[in-house]
């Protein structure tokens, strides 16, 4: 692994993300997001819209053409900011093994 790995040093960017999940970010948060939002196609978290502009469920890409997107129907969002925060936490835990407080 030659790429930057998220560590406890990055905890200082968590609140910044929570306040502003989309838009201008400090260089440190941008680096964290580049790691969390990149990664392999297979298993990547996406939002699947269930009601236009109003409701989404979490999904995971299969990473291969022809196979269906996996829907995680127990993760339902009515606010995209909340979805950003929920996925940020999921990815953070997967990247560091450590859970963030909700």
């Amino acid at each position: 692994m030659t790429r930057y790995r998220i560590s406890d040093d990055d905890l200082r960017f968590v609140e910044e993300f929570r306040r502003t999940p989309v838009g201008y970010h400090s260089p440190g948060l941008q680096r964290v997001l580049n790691v969390l939002r990149g990664g392999p196609e297979a298993g990547k978290y996406v939002l699947v819209c269930t009601k236009p502009y109003r409701e989404w469920v979490l999904g995971q890409l299969p990473g291969e053409r022809g196979r269906p997107v996996r829907l995680l129907r127990d993760h339902v969002f009515t606010d995209r900011r909340e979805a950003e925060w929920a996925v940020f936490r999921l990815r953070w835990q997967e990247a560091t093994g450590r859970a963030l407080d909700p």
Binding site: Y24, P27, R37, G38, V46, R67
Partner: protein, 752 residues
Amino acid sequence: MLKITGYADRVSVAPGGTIRFMVSCDDLPEYRAELRRIVCGDENPDGPGYRDEHIPCAAEGTYPGRRQEIHAGSYGIVPANRALAALETFTIAMMAWPTTPARSVQGLLSIRCAATGTRLALQLDGDDGLVLDLRTNDTAFRTCTGTALQRRQWTLVGVALDRAAGTVRLVQKPLHAGAGVEAIEVGESLPIGDGPMFDEGTVLFGAVHAASGLPERHYNGKIDSPRIVTGTLNAAEMRVAIESPAALGSRVAAAWDFALGIDSDHIRDRSPNRLDGHLVNLPARAVTGYRWTGEAHDWRHRPDHYGAVHFHDDDLYDAGWETDFALTVPDALPSGVYAMRCHAGEHEAFITFCVRPPRGRTTARAAFLMPTASYMAYGNNRLALDCSATEIGMGRLIELTDMHLFLQEHPEYGLSLYETHGDGSGVMYSSRLRPLVDFAPKVRNVLGGTGSGLWQFNADTHILAWLEHVDEPFDVITDEDLHAEGLALIRDYGVIVTGTHPEYYSTAMLDALQAYTDRGGRLMYLGGNGFYWRIAWHADRPGAIELRRAEDGIRPWACEPGEYHHAFTGELGGLWRRQERSPNRLVGVGMTSQGFDISSPFHRTRASHDPRAAFIFEGVDDEIVGDFGLSGGAAAGLEIDRADVELGTPPHALVLASSRCHTDVYLQTPEDMLDPTPDMSGTQSELIRADMVFFETANGGGVFSTSSIAWAGSLSHAGYDNNVARISTNVLRRFVDPAPLRARGQQAPSGG
């Protein structure tokens, strides 16, 4: 999940013309079809509201639903020919460059005779390597080399059959160093009786004949110089047959030369048998063959270096569906954007098309130039599905809709110019003779920024809705019309209004627009990253475009070395900027950056107070323009352009306003990034800005450029009572006014 999909046989139709619609329904016994005039395709509750208009027409009605299939995969076919009837003891040989050699059965060459029931297929089959698969009515024979071919390496492959001796020899020999298998001999087991193998044979390249005779088991990779020769040849002799078939004299039964007719879909046999054929589903031509040395880069200079065809199992040109119904456009139907809405219960599909004005006439002073080539380039794109980095560029989570779920499960609907084929090679062709599920109102796509999330056609409906709102009559014409008819199509318009992202331009299209502004026409470029890539249209196959992502530019894939010239035309592909035709020359600005999270407002410059620009800012006192909108929340964003005199912006052009300090998901383009340094992102680079530009052209014409895809998303704010709409409308009204526009020092044309 989409249950109805469809397409039309044309994208633009004049009154009196007939347009045919092909529809597929999944488990729906019937559907209704009705004509809709599209006004605004945005369903965002924060937007101007979805709006279309029901237009009664003769085609309206209920039609039976049926499922129509798409058979993707390219191949070559030579029709049934008696020349193969005499084959008794013979050799088939060619050069192959497989791109997915690990996969199971892929046909290189297949000969089938319906009368005798014989089918001979030379194919690849993973670790079995080269395979001969021979079937007759009552027997099946298969033998293989047992060694997989190397990926992306030219390899001589061949089979020699001796019916008298009952032997088969397979040859698999890399052109360059590498593991090869030569002369696998299989003796006394060839299960062929005494009768003729082939009464007449149909030949397929890049596929195997199914029992039905149709192609299946498509091949991924290139084939060069396939031969059929009487007698059994060893590897060295096969090489001679490929290299210089004339040396084998009358023993040559077929010597296909794919370097002939590269700009067409014809394939030619140089042997006296003339086993000519054609290619189906647009496999790639003008690709390097095994003879390519790196010396020639234009196939027209050394066609012999380009004797290969690259087949893909996911190529698609024409879905070939049966027609469900047709519409003859009534003479009284005004020019506009229309869609045939096909619906059943909660399911619906819009098949979008343009009704152009009657040929040889204009019916309004203004025309909306629908960028249908760019719709095709993006058509059915899988940027949300295939590309992990999309989320980084969006700066937020990817949002999928039913359309994406459908595309994910239906790769046979074909790819966009943003994808790579299943074998990793870039997609160089797109066609509209298949359902383009994103060429429709109500569609959302991931690149549209926060807010409505619209892209290409549906984003362009923000412009249609604005034109409607300001009650400016307008014709609608398409890229395809412009390419075919050139200046004559647009000469008489007072103003041409572009879409939000007219990125893909053929030479004829660009020539026409340049000639138009040079002759006093007015162009409103209400978009970003326009006029960026050169494309080519196929001369004989309607609705097909070609793109070579050559040299640089923002590219989801890169052309292979030696393959920068279009097959359709021979023209050098790539950025117009590289070919002395930068977008700056036409519209004063050119692509400078992209980011798909949030947009930024424009800040007016001192030049905006120049008297030449007074008409533009009439009634606008604000210094900040467009700090609102449905495409990223402001008017400058998504893809943005800058003025640059060095790149061709006319020196007298006024930069009226610029955006500043975009987010750091915006980066400089590769063509501006000669020596990458970590200050080339949105908050740090001076180059990353949208420049709103106005300049007068010769003969009283003018150009106004917003340089931003997001601009159109700001038009409807506050019921169209805002500075973006005001500026746009000011320009529109002045541009439809025939009074000449003159810069200081510009003279009226002499004698005029």
